[in-house]
Symmetry: C2
Subunit: 369 residues, 2 copies
């Protein structure tokens, strides 16, 4: 008997948004010595968070608070919004899935940038919606083109990440505010600010939860260093939050992670250290690249896009680095794919990467073609 799947699931390819580094390690039989490909934070977690989580392990047998009340209370204060304008869930990935599910009927359109975050595309396909992608403009997402396409294609949802992944570029407050003000009727802007805490200067427009056309996505996975803990949240008009609450897994958050996130919020010193380390880390990569005469893009994230001149060279570099136990990823589509995405590592990881990169340059014809 064939499995009686829905038409949508039957027709989906068996795809995953990303291959994990562990999968590559199993394939090669070797562990990575520089894990700088998944935008994980090499700067770890707050000691307060670590301590809170250690203490919470003894409560593993309890379900989490399905309302994440204490965490939302703290977040509401931090962002100066009401507690019912926040929804906490198991990471932005999950929240993007819920967003698509609650706004898109099958066949309706989501607008994004060609080469932007693949997990959004995964969810769009997964719920039978249609993706329309506009090109990047000079390695930046193009707010005006996104809005125009949303209007033309009657999109229910338009996605932009600021700062951007995979390029690290960004738009300032004014440009984003203009975009917010020009989102077409009947369309919602998913503004993914996963990397916002890494920005050297404030670039996020003020949060305005009276506007029912914007959802702000934030996470503990990046600057707070808690990718493995799965805690993200959205800030939005309370009617949008009601939508999330109607369909989310109410007991889906890890109890220990809740405690860790809460403790993280109380450690501003740690966050400042991370921001400083990210700035220094970016400079170090830029200097290294420039020593090779290679261009980089300005970045407000924890990675730097480094130009290798062609997709072929970039692909070869990723492969050669992988053979040398360096885990790194690159943008998937032209013309972004002439870049590799150099994640900021620990000192040891950076040095290991530098040696491996230099070795590749020396031993291959990579950049001479």
């Amino acid at each position: 008997m064939p499995i009686p799947f829905t038409t949508i699931v039957q027709n989906l390819p068996a795809s995953t948004p990303f291959v994990g580094p562990e999968t590559l390690e199993r394939q090669s039989g070797k562990l990575f010595r520089a894990r700088i490909g998944a935008n994980e934070s090499a700067f770890g977690i707050s000691p307060l968070a670590a301590s809170a989580m250690r203490d919470a392990i003894g409560q593993s047998h309890y379900y989490s608070d399905p309302e994440s009340y204490e965490l939302r209370e703290e977040l509401a204060q931090k962002h100066n919004v009401a507690i019912d304008e926040i929804c906490v869930d198991a990471g932005i990935d999950s929240l993007l899935g819920l967003t698509v599910r609650m706004l898109l009927e099958p066949g309706q359109v989501v607008v994004t940038s060609h080469g932007a975050y693949p997990t959004l595309n995964y969810h769009v396909a997964g719920f039978g919606a249609k993706l329309h992608a506009v090109p990047y403009n000079n390695c930046h997402e193009d707010p005006q083109a996104l809005v125009k396409a949303s209007s033309e294609h009657n999109a229910k949802l338009v996605y932009l990440s600021n700062p951007d992944n995979p390029m690290g570029t960004w738009h300032g407050e004014e440009t984003i505010t203009q975009m917010i003000n020009s989102v077409p009727d009947n369309c919602v802007l998913a503004l993914d600010e996963a990397y916002i805490e890494f920005a050297a200067e404030p670039i996020a427009p003020p949060i305005d939860t009276s506007n029912p056309q914007v959802i702000r996505y934030r996470t503990f996975s990046k600057a707070y260093g808690m990718a493995g803990q799965r805690v993200g949240y959205v800030i939005a008009h309370k009617d949008l939050i009601t939508g999330f609450n109607k369909i989310r897994n109410h007991f889906g958050i890890n109890r220990i992670a809740q405690q860790g996130a809460l403790a993280s919020l109380k450690d501003d010193t740690f966050l400042e250290k991370v921001r400083a380390a990210a700035s220094a880390g970016r400079e170090r990569v830029v200097e290294f690249a420039s020593g090779h005469g290679l261009a980089t893009l300005p970045s407000n994230t924890n990675f730097v896009a480094l130009n290798l001149g062609s997709s072929a060279a970039a692909k070869q570099m990723i492969t050669e680095l992988s053979h040398r136990q360096v885990f790194m990823r690159m943008p998937g589509v032209e013309p972004l794919s002439q870049y590799i995405r150099v994640g900021l590592g620990t000192d040891a990881e950076h040095e290991f990467f530098v040696e491996a990169f230099n070795d590749v340059i020396k031993k291959t014809t990579l950049l001479k073609v």
Copy 2:
């Protein structure tokens, strides 16, 4: 502007399957002193799991292995199936949601028992499918009636939990095997075995992954004591597993929880202790009830259903216990709702419950009506 929700989400009530104990604590301003209402395990987690999780906290900044490879490898060995016949996800709740999503077109039917696990119903509504519920038979789910209704209503999915929640009752291997063999064509049986490790004797039929009409649901939330960690899994025909993999959140598992689950599987001694403690705990509740002349249902879970003679009495008892800092739940629908569900607690929790219960009996007219 009204939010442009899908028709399904627009029409959903803003409901949650369960109110968490923390919500009740916030309402009353008092902490519970016996938390025996959510079928959490009072017997905690394996010391090996605790130790593995403490060690893993330092890796919080890494995403988990999206394939849960090591964990699936261990589970495959334990259940004598292939690794691609297992899918690990953030708890059975999430897996039930994925199941409904991948099998049910809006308007198609899921068959369950009237009063069975509410989170299934939440997902059925959430994806616009239709629920058909058949009555319990003498406080047992009724496999024959479930199969008959599935056939009559052209159901794509039929749900049974064995042992059952909220009643604690169960069917033996033969009855379940008969049910498996009589599931109608084009219908899948969701066999929820969350409580299976608590059973005093083996009641699960052999796992047969060649049958594409059965999904077995297992979890680390109950006997393994890891409810707050969110790790569950399904065992099924590999084509069904492919369906789950097409739509799940690939990076949705907590990395620390993965390590804890893996370590748990290596601690048979702990599991045996839990099973013994559960047996003793059930006996203790039965004895206590019988001291009051109250009937209980036989249970193969970590709770015992205790008959208070009427829904009104049961409701009053839950309320009065709550006033006395005891968190307990009861089945939501007649005729099951004349029972309260006494969770097995620690010694201290049990004594606290006993005192509170005795006090309620003394001070109210509860059982005299």
